[in-house]
Amino acid sequence: MENNMEDCWELAGHKFHSRFILGSGKYSLKLIEAAVKDAGTEIVTLAVRRANTQDKENILDYIPKQVTLLPNTSGARNAEEAVRIARLARAMGCGDFVKIEIMRDSKYLLPDNSETIKATEILAKEGFVVLPYMYPDLNVARDLVSAGAAAVMPLAAPIGSNKGLATKEFIQILIDEIDLPIIVDAGIGAPSQACEAMEMGAAAIMANTALATAGNLPLMAAAFKEAIAAGRKAYLSGLGRVLVRGAEASDPLTGFLHD
């Protein structure tokens, strides 16, 4: 890529410059605006179940209008429930984007891959821009592509754990083999980890807990922004080799071959 070329990415024809998707559910509503600004984010996720309120303090009122909403289906335990929540999000005016979250486990909140494929297929047919949250499995990722997903969102580590790229090898396989944007979601706990995922070739990073548990949320949002941009640049520039051990011999072992 030329140095001055615009580095955008797309989701179903929608162009984005920021590669940082921000969660919104674990910190004070009043901080959302500052976090969005300092993170430079263009996409914010929100739980439909949290937005489904008559509350004087509705989360939707705190998300800046220029930002694309990415409602998620948290609370869904199967495809049918996820589909219903997605339709509710659309009816509430949250747009056509949806992040599918289907959990059959309240302890680790691990996604149910097979139900996620089913929900993706139904919602993609209904015209949603579907971003499925999934456990990084290549076969599942391929099925999600066939089902009409706009991107694939593999988890790096259990949600909320801040443990970083625990599934690194498998995310790399998805990046290498899947033609859709790979958005690394869940478990990213520090800007350095976000940077590493971007160096691997991820299209974007989603984070929530890492910011929510930081001492200064907007400052951490800015740190993530810079780390993600740095990782992206490193990926585009082509990382140099990293030698596993020792230095490379200056005299080649095959130097004696003359034919």
Binding site: Y27, R50, T53, K56, I85, S106, K107, A212
Partner: protein, 421 residues
């Protein structure tokens, strides 16, 4: 503090009881042979094939908390995930000097799983008739209190008043009288509640799976049942009469509720009735075992302490001071980081403000444990007949005050995090 304390004196005679009733009451209190076995089911009670109870009670029985030392507590706090053995150390007296460190760890876990959110809800008592004789409870059938049951119109009126305050989650409670508060009556209350609230929970007498299914269809999605104490011997001495006396039927209530389609279930021991460390252990293990069987379900814990009741203002929580309560709650959070923790209005405003920053995720506001008096609470004027309260509350903040107080503590109050699917 855990030093020696005077035992609670629960037994109170009302002058309005007939001679025959008094005789029966005294017989139940003084002659154990006059009481049914707490293990004997009533004919209509469903029996589940479950091994959870045996596992929990065996662990509780074997728990010798004096065996744990500061080294065990240190090791527990150093572990990334908290094992059952670690949890036992955190509940032990040896953990008392580590309370601040436990609180910090608990806060970290809460923040990872729930961020800084705290959910607000209001309980609504719709009837206080009760057929049980539980000696520590204000609703017990021998206690001389003002009884009341709201009719549909009154229930709806109460709900309107609560909904106007902005509340979106309601917990419907009754005394334990299936005759007075039938399943159909409670079901109707659930249907009315769905008109005004985003989430409807129940805290009623335990019922069979089919009845839970019916109530779920009527709009309830969360069921809380307090076991009160997991110490069977003590349970037998405190619950002298009625359906509640059947210990195993109560123990399996959450399982039946989940099988009946409820999304989540709540658990609790009433700390102060028996050895609180053993009860806290059993409560958490009850959750732990059911989570393994029903991994999709949502779980929550409450942690009430004994409170004074109408006609007996001398009831105390028996050595479970605020420090002990805080230790139990922190240990719960570290062992079960994914469960909701509810702190009731039995505790003071200062305690609830503090604990919400450490590990509580759900707080009641605008609470009345009486019957039919929400209007008085919200709109500040008196009405005619009210039913008496189940227990005395210590924190009577309104929803608006609670919302503002939680915000000023740096927490994000949430009125709804729920969507029916």
């Amino acid at each position: 503090m855990t030093e020696a304390k005077e035992a609670n004196s629960f037994l109170v005679d009302s002058a309005r009881l007939s001679e025959k009733a008094l005789e029966r009451k005294h017989e139940l209190e003084n002659n154990p042979a006059s009481r049914k076995s707490p293990l004997a089911y009533f004919p209509e009670m469903e029996q589940l094939d479950s091994t959870v109870e045996a596992e929990v009670l065996a662990e509780m029985e074997a728990y010798d908390y004096n065996r744990y030392t500061a080294i065990d507590v240190r090791r527990a706090l150093d572990h990334t995930t908290c094992s059952q053995e670690d949890f036992k150390a955190l509940l032990s007296p040896a953990a008392a000097p580590f309370l601040e460190e436990m609180a910090r760890r608990a806060r970290q876990e809460t923040s990872r799983h729930f961020g800084n959110t705290v959910y607000l809800f209001t309980p609504l008592y719709i009837a206080n008739y009760c057929e049980n004789y539980c000696v520590y409870c204000g609703f017990n059938c021998y206690n001389d209190i003002q009884r009341l049951q709201l009719d549909e119109q009154q229930i709806e009126h109460e709900m309107q008043v609560i909904a106007e305050s902005g509340m979106e989650e309601i917990l419907i409670l009754t005394g334990e009288s299936k005759v007075k508060s039938s399943i159909e009556y409670i079901g109707k209350a659930c249907q009315l509640a769905r008109k005004y609230f985003r989430n409807v929970g129940l805290e009623i007498y335990p019922v069979n799976t089919e009845d839970y299914r019916y109530l779920h269809e009527c709009g309830a999605d969360y069921v809380t049942v307090f076991q009160e104490t997991y110490d069977l011997e003590q349970y037998e001495k405190l619950h002298l009469l009625g359906h509640k006396r059947v210990f195993p039927y109560r123990f399996a209530a959450q399982e039946r509720a989940l099988r009946g389609g409820m999304r989540g279930v709540g658990f609790s021991a009433l700390l102060g009735l028996a050895d609180f460390r053993k009860d806290a252990l059993a409560t958490a293990l009850h959750v732990w075992h059911l989570q393994r069987r029903y991994p999709w379900a949502e779980f929550s814990l409450s942690c009430p302490r004994l409170r004074p009741i109408v006609n007996n203002d001398k009831i105390t929580p028996q050595g479970v001071g605020e420090r002990e309560l805080c230790q139990v709650l922190c240990a719960y959070r570290i062992f079960l980081p994914y469960v909701g923790i509810t702190v009731s209005s039995r505790e003071s405003a200062a305690f609830r403000n503090g604990i919400a920053k450490i590990c509580a995720t759900k707080i009641s506001a605008g609470v009345s444990t009486g019957i039919g008096d929400h209007e008085e609470k919200y709109e500040g004027h008196q009405e005619g007949t009210h039913g008496d309260e189940q227990f005395e509350i210590a924190d009577n903040r309104s929803i608006d005050t609670m919302y503002a107080d939680m915000s000023s503590e740096g927490l994000q109050p949430v009125l709804n995090d729920y969507v029916y699917v």
